[in-house]
Amino acid sequence: MTVDLERGHQHWVPTTSHARAAVGGIVVAIVAAVTGRPDLLVMATPLLLIAVWSAMTRPDATPLVRERLAHRRIREGEATHWTFDIYPSPGTEEVVAWAVAPPSTQLWPYGGVSAVGVSTQAARSRSGGTSIDPVRLRIGVRSVRWGRREVGPAAVMASSAWNAFQWQSPRCAPRLLVTVPGSTPYGSLAPSPRPRGLVGLHRSARRGEGTEFATIRPFQTGDRLRRIHWPVSLRVGTLQVTATWAEQDTHVVLVVDGINDIGESGGIDGVASSLDVSARAAGALAEHYLLGGDRVELRVVDVHGLTRLPAGGGRQHLIRVLDVLSGMRPGSRFGFDPRAGNARLPAGGLILVLSPLVSTQALEQTMSLARSGFTTLVVDTLPSDVAQRDPGNPFVEIAWRIRLLEREREMRRVQELGVPIVRWVGPGSLDEVLRGLSRRAAAPRMGHR
């Protein structure tokens, strides 16, 4: 049947089924009476009976509908449900709810339609003034890709006996469903290259209050008495104390290049595009560092220009980070210079650039960061099989091979500035490079005067 979501009718209206039974039955019965043919009356009997039955059981009141989307924010691959509580009026026999699925969203049951029959006795009990439990319909909503999408519109339709009369609710406005990037498992044991905060889990380059042993040194004024190492003190004859390394947090800046989205995205169950990899990697890194007590700042360069989420810590900040990531849209803003925000970057922070490294803007920004002396690490998010994704067109593969050769040359230019580039492969992707950066940070450096 045709579904008109734009306009619902507030009253019960007769359907073509009722017209068929009533008009067809009456016309055939009249012809039978006029021509005196009882066989035609027999043919008209079922239609007349159904028409009379339908007219006598026509609902008089309109149903009451309440709807609710259970969750406003879910992760990729998770599902929520759209619940419709329908209080049927007497005479209502079947209720149906349906919704329209946006891209990258699956609805269950098939087509987003949820149908159920209403017990006639239950519908009648309301006429006695007693409340009844509503008929509850649920449409499952599963989001297979991160992003902000509106689910719906939706509507509810009720029908009477023999589908003779129908009532359709007004269209329910679409509901915004925020799908944050999936939780990619990520863990790292590598130390942070330059922890500069006050408290945290990373070993500082300085000695101070902490738990990790550094050395044993002579007692100085101000040292805590519990730090005195009595065995050594008795052996050497003077007071000796245990020195420890200070523990600090670090300031991590995630710079996500959302200018290009390369490759087809199959959602959480299929192949990943470059922006999928970037979003999921950024989410995993943010979760890893934030749950480790570090501060994370997020910068997204996409069609909106530069979106900056100031540094913060804790679980709530993780939700903010994921929320901003879910709002990414590929594209570039005309005249936007991504280097404009470099001046506000913190000294000593760890800057992680997540980019497929195919846009000039991202390369320029990375080189600018390296020249400014920031500890920068580039995470390559270009899918490895991007050149083989269109086997039917050999020219695409050739074009991609040429482009990838150019990209390698551009990546070497970045690496010559001391910026390591590492491909994102999940847990432990950055460990080796971060250890190298830590060693480099601890080494003596020649400064310009």
Partner: protein
């Protein structure tokens, strides 16, 4: 292949079983049965007419058969259109033109076929897709059988009048209408007066922007 989805959030009792494939199968089966009934019922009426007439269809009957075929295709494609009404009227006209015997026994399967045709069309338009639940299917089947039983009773009444050699041509229609009036009265008296219900109101909720909520999702 099926998979069980994990709903978002905690403490939810909602589980989505068997995503995808089984629904497709149900849809195809249900769709096929209802459409098959829609196609077969007019063919049964035509066949009964040919058997009742006992002769080769005339040009007038053949024209009506052709029209029935066209309308059958139309209602199969669009069951919610008025082509169904035209199909019922055309079927009755075909019977009146083709069958001269007013008390033919073949009228009973023909009338039951009309009932099946109407029921299948009505059932297929209760939902945007043909996906009735088992309870709904049982309800429709039970009611169709009840209407069919009454139809058989009316047919038996016509046969009884015919056997008694009564002038049934005038009496029967009025008797039938009187019977329908009794049925209508019976149905009406079973319906209790309805109290007023509130007007339908959607539960409005604010549009979510970049606000942070649902913290439990990540705990």
């Amino acid at each position: 292949m099926t998979e069980t989805l994990r709903p978002g959030g905690t403490g939810s009792d909602f589980d989505l079983p068997e995503y995808g494939v089984p629904d497709d199968e149900i849809l195809v089966l249900t769709f096929g049965r209802i459409r098959l009934s829609t196609c077969v019922a007019p063919a049964v009426v035509v066949g009964c007419g040919v058997l009742a007439a006992g002769t080769v269809p005339t040009i007038r009957s053949a024209t009506l058969i052709l029209l029935i075929a066209v309308l059958t295709v139309a209602v199969t494609v669009r069951p919610d259109s008025y082509a169904g009404l035209l199909l019922v009227l055309t079927t009755a006209a075909y019977w009146a033109v083709t069958v001269p015997d007013r008390f033919s026994a073949y009228v009973l399967p023909a009338a039951l076929s009309v009932l099946v045709l109407h029921t299948s069309l009505a059932a297929s338009t209760t939902s945007p897709v043909d996906r009735p639940t088992d309870a709904v299917r049982r309800r429709w089947r039970r009611r169709t059988l009840a209407i069919g039983a009454v139809t058989v009773t009316v047919w038996l009444a016509t046969r009884a009048f015919h056997a008694a050699a009564r002038p049934a041509g005038i009496v029967l229609p009025f008797a039938g209408f009187a019977f329908l009036a009794v049925v209508a009265w019976f149905v009406r008296t079973r319906s209790k007066p309805l109290g007023p219900l509130p007007t339908p109101v959607w539960e409005e909720r604010p549009v979510v922007g970049r606000a942070i909520d649902d913290l439990s999702l990540f705990t």
